[in-house]
């Protein structure tokens, strides 16, 4: 493993351990994508093979089926405590991407998550967002407070220095924890290779000349043209590309992400 990946791993592990020490009711989001799977692997690094908190999957019901199979398999193999959240009410009322992408994301993901947080009373939530994904995430903190409504006040972010994080918070609010903030897309793949992490095969071309570069809900995520068949091919491809990672994610259009994230989207 190169020195930089090791540094990233050390920092992420430090953040995990701070989170575990300070939050009684801690949980981690797992979307089965490459980032949150690396996140899960780093948790096992931090706690020496254990994952001492539950993993949350906010199931919009629109996920690609292979993702659910993958989820259940590793939940079993790694003995994970999996908590599945779903905004059943919104789904019952017919929420779907056709009613507007931002509306659908807000109802099924943001509110699905908020409802689950409220129900379970989690005070710390670990997520795999990265600074290089899109503009507003570049401005995130490792420990990022959310108010009573789960909203993000980006004007008043806490200072973060010398590995001292915001771990004290008023009742009713919660903290989002971002151990992957400093990682880039290529770092994720290099780490997957270095640690030999089992990754879902939707990321690889299976002979059709396309693969997914970023995974979300089936209706709003599109494969890219690529002949990358394995992790090495992907790393090689990323070294040359000038196309943004989330170009296949519809929710990033316009100001979608800033609005979503301000209201508590991950």
């Amino acid at each position: 493993m190169n020195a930089h990946l090791r540094q990233l791993e050390d920092q992420s592990v430090y953040i995990f351990r701070e989170a575990y020490k300070h939050f009684e009711n801690l949980a981690m989001l797992w979307s089965m994508g490459k980032d949150s799977t690396v996140l899960l692997w780093l948790a096992r690094k931090a706690f020496l093979g254990h994952v001492p908190f539950p993993l949350i999957h906010v199931d919009t019901s629109y996920k690609i089926p292979a993702m659910i199979e993958y989820r259940d398999r590793f939940a079993r193999e790694w003995r994970l405590n999996l908590v599945i959240g779903q905004n059943t009410e919104a789904l019952k009322n017919g929420m779907n991407p056709g009613l507007g992408r931002v509306e659908c994301c807000t109802a099924l993901k943001t509110n699905g998550l908020k409802n689950l947080l409220a129900e379970k009373g989690y005070t710390g939530v670990i997520l795999g967002v990265r600074a290089d994904e899109e503009g507003t995430r570049a401005k995130e903190r490792y420990f990022s407070p959310r108010d009573k409504h789960g909203d993000w006040d980006f004007r008043e972010q806490p200072p973060e220095l010398w590995d001292q994080f915001k771990t004290a918070f008023p009742q009713g609010t919660h903290i989002r924890i971002h151990p992957l903030l400093d990682w880039t897309e290529i770092n994720i793949w290099e780490y997957i290779k270095a640690e030999n992490i089992p990754i879902i095969d939707l990321y690889f071309d299976k002979g059709e000349g396309t693969r997914y570069r970023s995974l979300g809900c089936a209706p709003c995520t599109f494969p890219i043209k690529s002949k990358a068949k394995n992790v090495d091919d992907i790393i090689e491809e990323l070294r040359h590309t000038t196309v943004a990672e989330r170009s296949g994610r519809a929710q990033d259009e316009g100001r979608g992400m800033e609005l979503l994230r301000k209201d508590g989207y991950m």
Binding site: H4, G135, A138
Partner: protein, 612 residues
Amino acid sequence: MLSTLNTRAARAQEHLNIVIVGHVDHGKSTLLGRLFADTGSLPEGKLEKVRGICERQGKEFEYAFLFDAFLEEQEQGITIDTARTFFQWKDRQYIIIDAPGHKEFLKNMISGAARAEAALLLIDAQEGVKEQSKKHGYLLSLLGVRQVAVVVNKMDLVGYRQDVFEAIEKEYRAFLTQLKVSPERFVPVSAKLGENIATRSRVMPWYTGPTVLDTLGLFRKETEREHQPLRFPVQDVYKFDARRILAGRIAAGLVKVGDRLVFSPSNKTANVKSIEAFNVEPVPTQAKAGQSTGITLDEQIFVERGEIASYPDAAPLVSTVFRCNLFWMGRRPLETGKRYALRLATREVECEVETIHRIIDAGDLDARQTQTTVGKNEVAELTIRTKLPLAFDLYSDFEATGRFVLVDQYDVSGGGIITESVRDAQTVLREEARRRDIAWVKGDVGPDDRARHYGHRAALILLTGGPPSDKSFLARRLEVRLVADSRHTYLLDGGNLRRGLDTDLAEEDGAEMVRRFGEVARLLIDTGLIVVSTTNTFGRIDHQAIQTLVHPTPVVTVHLSKTQETSPPSTDLAFAGPKDFETIVDRIIAELKQRGVLAQAIGAKQQFHYSI
């Protein structure tokens, strides 16, 4: 374009964190945008997309828009929060932190600069050196960013004049020299027009130094901290299985299997038995500075988060008083005498500001004289006193254990670097205790073994105040009750020592009597006893001395008084008026339970919240 792609394909061998700082509107975001655009580093279509937005909104395109992500930032044309961007050039990957220059967002600038290894500080050629130019310069020095290059921007607005550039260089260099910061270089540029950003400017032939892009390449990678003596702050203790793993990140030096470690401030010692890791083959036998690791020890000593492990011959300082430089970013001003939480590495202790020596106005570095508060965005020189002994280093010796933050209620509100350890009343005894503990010859039975067999841990109960007869009676009752409950307890009366151990001492040798009493108590505690002591002749200072000598054993101080009076500081239990001694004994026993001395579960397996 082809050459850019080739360089990007090269493997990044090294990573460097750079922060861009400077007064608001001096062009930081523009510089960053230009740097990316001129090196072909922007994602495909990004430039066109932002140009398109500008056209539709009928405003002039600015390179700054490429990175100001929040709508509000673009509307106001200022950066609100630090953004991190990744920039690859030659065999290095740069993480460039664009820090906001507006005074209102100083704490965001600090968050950005705190993680930087080098800084570009921008000054507007037309406006010259401004308030925030100086403040940022000062904060960089406080945050430990030693490599600074000054970029004089907007040279196009002053006709690319050499004399303007040189005047700014002269003024600002003089200012930085007072801070003991020596800037690497000054670079005249026009970020807007791309002069001296990625390519050498033809309109400023008088400047022959490096461009901004070259300057990045000239920054050096931070030197390794693994050659320093070991500093391993304990972050947590894990008991996922039979092993007890001390987890943490090594702040300096190297730890190897077999190393003898001392933990400060408890002075406990043990040897490293193993280095623990997940999915690492072969199993590591050492870990070095920067690594998050886990170790097990050859003895079951009780250490907690916050202690700093080191080699016995190069341990950190321990005191309750130190002098520091601190910047304050709290909503409310910092006040003397008010309680704050102090966090240094993984330790958190209560503290108060004892003295504000001076407020340093970074603008001109002159000092406003002594006062009792430090306002938002001010820098001050302080003396801080902690409630409990703190292990630390001077910032000039060790970065990570020489700096701390202050937490006001929920918020990290100040950051400081320790410049001087101040001797407190306990320094001499603390040093004696440390030398004695580190060299202490231990048997094969440790405190955990004794606790398991006895059903309790060792402790010292100090009875103070009130008429001697009351204390003496209470001490005897307490001893009887504890022993009746199968707790190994011993009444140590100060007078007994004077009639034996202290017969060589004269009345005026009070301090030596206290020292001997403390050492005797320490011995009894080491045998696993609960020591109850009435020290009639000793005063409050003496009680602190005894606590220092038995540290870190739990000490319960009980103060008796005839009338309601203020009990001495750090009294655990106070009783005034007529006494019901049995109730007092009950209260003391409850306190011992609460402190874990009489825990019911001693000897039982540790409970651990783990849900699989």
